[in-house]
């Protein structure tokens, strides 16, 4: 099934592993049979690693809700089931979660959810621990890769012991930190022989579901007792009783680093909060400080129990809490001089920003160049590499909220338009994987309700932003094996788009793209333009002979710069007076031939034909 299978390192090995690698190894070591996910930073690599292990089924699901449902089904079948997602993925999966918590599990069911504390690659910074409260679930919070390994294994045991799904809350600073991990023996799990039909338990009609509520509330009580003695929670003695810390997740490491002498209640099993242990610590110290990323959940519960504590009154309620931020926050409490800024002895020097850019020759470049040439248009965007179209030089994306939202928002922009927007066209831009994740329903809504929306469906055959993972549009599964490939044109037609209004366009053919887009936006009713060239980072992409600029022929018009390709650099700026007397800015350019892959986009914008084929002299590299 999988040609790339790993020979898993032996039990007892000490390995340099990221949190994601450690979770994957632990899922395998826990004897899990089924693992599913939709890619999402910072959790993507968990399933990528799991796809390398033998004797386990791994899949890319179309979205997080489906991944959880697959894991639930596996649990019901009697096997251990696992799914992983980024924080916002759990919003999508929440519908299944909120009822499964009532139904319980057969095989252990673990949901890894990775919060992007610090916004490294996400649209919000929500605290997934709330789901533990909302869904009455135990929450485990590892602080590093070793703990990620141990707690993932413990999570399966807890799930089966307490008949509950378990949330494993990771953060970017666990997922992507590498440290040494000692791995153990793979467990032999005796899974059920077959699915046991039990409608009273698995058919959640009201009469059945409400009978499970008392069971769930009893479980809450059992868990509240379990956290007090769990080996995942420990009270660490300290020589300085001035301050005592209650902390969880990677914040624990920061607390230990910043306050090595302080007593610390280290919570790995952090929900329910072990109030007995908190009281024990509070009795030993002059002041209690709760250090948690990001929301004051434990703090609120500790205070509600009548225990005085500091927390978000002195610490930030957003972002990470590394040692220097902790020291600064606690300076006043310790009677120290407040630290002026979060910098060292030297000031931070001002340097231009370097936001992520689209790749050299990216097929999206042609799309955004074209969109930037359109006037009177409102562009509803979505989540993926193409969100970068909101930036320079295109400035051709006006909204981006959540996965698949470009469709519904476009329809709302159309239906809710005011007099000032009467002549505006509404365009929605969405990628292949995002469309399959949650965009299809929105397009169905556009078709059904006859929205005046032109949809650009950018099919680049990959989940580009997270590193080019496979999806049902790529024609391969997580193992790289051939899989049924969605026919987007047929799918869109089946959703109700008139066949005459569906166009397949090569995004490198700028005149065709421009003409199609202009014509479709002028017509009422919905239409879909599908671009069909692959992501430059995947192996479908074929490099062509690179280009260079004939400096003598370049007139400095700057049109090619508007394409936004990072291989084009301005070498000199100037000003010129046109015959009309108007002053124009000139930008003379060169092409980084070593990086150019010959996509031809800039050539099409060059009126004086100053861009010509070059002979590559060096291996291609950004250096």
């Amino acid at each position: 099934m999988n040609p790339n299978l790993l020979q898993p390192p032996a039990a007892g090995s000490r390995l340099l592993m990221s949190g994601n690698e450690a979770v994957a190894r632990a899922v395998w070591d826990a004897g899990t049979r089924v693992a599913a996910a939709y890619p999402g930073t910072p959790a993507t690599e968990i399933l990528e690693y799991l796809s390398l292990y033998p004797d386990l089924y791994a899949e890319w699901s179309v979205n997080e809700k489906v991944s959880l449902e697959v894991a639930i089904g596996a649990s019901l079948a009697g096997a251990r089931g696992f799914c992983a997602m980024k924080h916002v993925g759990l919003n999508v999966a929440a519908d299944a979660l909120m009822t499964q918590t009532l139904a319980g599990v057969v095989g252990g069911l673990v949901i890894a959810v990775a919060d992007d504390v610090g916004f490294s690659s996400s649209q919000n910074e929500q605290d997934s621990r709330y789901w533990g409260r909302f869904a009455h679930l135990p929450v485990l919070e590892p602080a590093d890769s070793q703990e990620a390994y141990e707690m993932t294994r413990a999570a399966f045991a807890l799930s089966e012991q307490y008949n509950t799904p378990v949330l494993l809350r990771l953060t970017t600073r666990v997922c992507h930190v590498k440290c040494l991990v000692s791995v153990g023996e793979r467990q032999v799990v005796r899974a059920a022989d077959q699915f046991t039909k039990d409608p009273g338990r698995w058919v959640m009609v009201p009469a059945n579901a409400k009978r499970h509520v008392p069971e769930m509330l009893a479980r809450d009580k059992a868990l509240a007792a379990a956290v007090e003695t769990s080996p995942l929670n420990r009270l660490e003695a300290g020589s300085n009783p001035r301050l005592g810390f209650v902390t969880s997740g990677p914040a624990y490491m920061h607390v230990r680093e910043a306050f090595p002498d302080a007593p610390v209640l280290k919570l790995g099993f952090s929900h329910p909060v072990p109030l007995g242990l908190v009281r024990q610590l509070a009795d030993q110290v002059e002041a209690l400080v709760v250090v948690e990323e990001t929301e004051p959940l434990m703090e609120t519960e500790i205070k509600a129990a009548g225990i005085a504590a500091h927390g978000k009154d002195i610490l930030p309620a957003a972002g990470e809490l590394p040692p220097h931020i902790l020291r600064r926050g606690l300076a006043a409490l310790l009677g120290q001089q407040p630290v002026a800024a979060d910098v060292g002895q030297r000031p931070a020097l001002e340097v231009f920003p370097r936001p992520p850019t689209m790749c050299v020759a990216c097929p999206h470049l042609g799309v955004y160049y074209t969109l930037s040439q359109l006037r009177n248009v409102n562009i509803s965007g979505d989540i993926g590499c193409y969100t970068l179209g909101a930036g320079h030089p295109w400035n051709a994306l006006d909204t981006c909220i959540s996965m698949g939202a470009s469709m519904g928002i476009a329809l709302g922009l159309d239906k809710g338009r005011g007099p000032g927007d009467e002549n505006k066209k509404v365009v929605a831009v969405i990628g292949d994987s995002t469309f399959l994740h949650m965009g299809m329903q929105g397009l169905l809504d556009i078709a059904y309700n006859r929205g005046n929306v032109t949809v650009l469906l950018l099919d680049n055959r990959a989940v580009g932003m997270t590193g080019g993972q496979e999806n049902p549009g790529s024609g391969r599964d997580i193992y790289g094996q051939p899989a049924p490939r969605v026919d987007f044109a047929k799918l869109v037609e089946a959703l109700g788009i008139d066949k005459e209004r569906i166009h397949m366009v090569d995004p490198y053919q700028l005149p065709v793209l421009f003409k199609t887009l202009r014509e479709e936006t002028k017509r009422p009713g919905p239409s879909v333009i599908i671009t069909d060239r692959p992501c430059v980072l995947i192996d479908h992409y074929q490099k062509q002979q690179p280009y260079e600029v004939d400096e003598a022929a370049c007139t400095g018009c700057g049109n090619c710069v508007e394409v936004g390709c990072p291989a084009i650099h301005v070498t000199r700026r100037d000003k010129a007076i046109k015959p009309s007397g108007k002053e124009v800015e000139l930008a003379f350019v060169k092409i980084e031939t070593a990086a150019c892959t010959g996509c031809d986009l800039c050539v099409q914008t060059c009126a004086p034909k100053a861009i010509r084929h070059a002979v590559p002299t060096f291996p291609v590299s950004i250096n």
């Binding site: 930190v177 060292g344 931070a348 936004g564 700026r573």
Partner: protein, 199 residues
């Protein structure tokens, strides 16, 4: 440069695609081979897209927080001059910076929205940073492969580490021997040339 009971902090900075994360991974492996505890972290969610990459490597008898705080890096390895400038306040007063003179302009500079600093290395020096700068790209070009910048930079800092330079070199060579044997020898030479360039 450092007592063996202290945690050593190395900050490797550059741009997505330059091999920053690979370099810090190799540094981590070398430190592990010396018996150190190691933590390595970076924010690189969108690094593949030409954004800023900063990778923190910490090693010592026991490492807690994976993050290097501003003002606490012992060594700054800058794969690009303006990036070295962006992060130089992370150095300790007595810390050292090893900087590749390469200037890579992002599109926002090409578009004329921001200037590229006229003399990034000079700006860092003005802050009183102990700095060595050289053109790693020129050495790579001589060796015939620009991707060698990464190994050249590792060679350049090798003598500032609290363990033998050969340890780091062996890690690099071994890694290539396992994955791309043809490149092992070239990388060994790149390492040596980087090491020589730092003196």
């Amino acid at each position: 440069m450092t007592a063996s009971n202290k945690v050593v902090n190395i900050l490797v900075v550059g741009i997505g695609g330059q091999g920053v994360m690979t370099a810090s991974e190799i540094l981590s492996e070398a430190a592990i081979s010396q018996g150190y505890d190691v933590k390595k972290t970076e924010v690189a969610g969108m690094s593949q897209r030409g954004g800023v990459v900063s990778s923190h490597v910490r090693f010592g008898p026991r490492v807690l927080s994976p993050e290097i705080a501003p003002g606490e890096a012992d060594i700054l390895v800058g794969f690009e001059a303006a990036e070295a400038m962006r992060w130089c306040h992370y150095l300790r007063p007595e810390g050292v910076a090893m900087v590749n003179r390469l200037n890579l302009e992002p599109p926002v500079v090409s578009l004329g929205l921001y200037p590229y600093p006229a003399d990034p290395v000079g700006e860092i020096r003005k802050q009183g940073v102990r700095l060595h700068d050289f053109d790693a790209g020129a050495i790579a070009r001589e060796l015939g492969d620009l991707r060698l910048v990464n190994t050249i930079m590792m060679g350049a800092i090798a003598d500032a580490l609290p363990f033998p330079a050969e340890t780091l070199k062996e890690r690099i060579v071994e890694r290539f021997r396992a994955r791309k044997p043809a490149l092992a020898e070239t990388n060994a030479r790149a390492f040596d040339l980087g090491r020589a360039a730092a003196h």
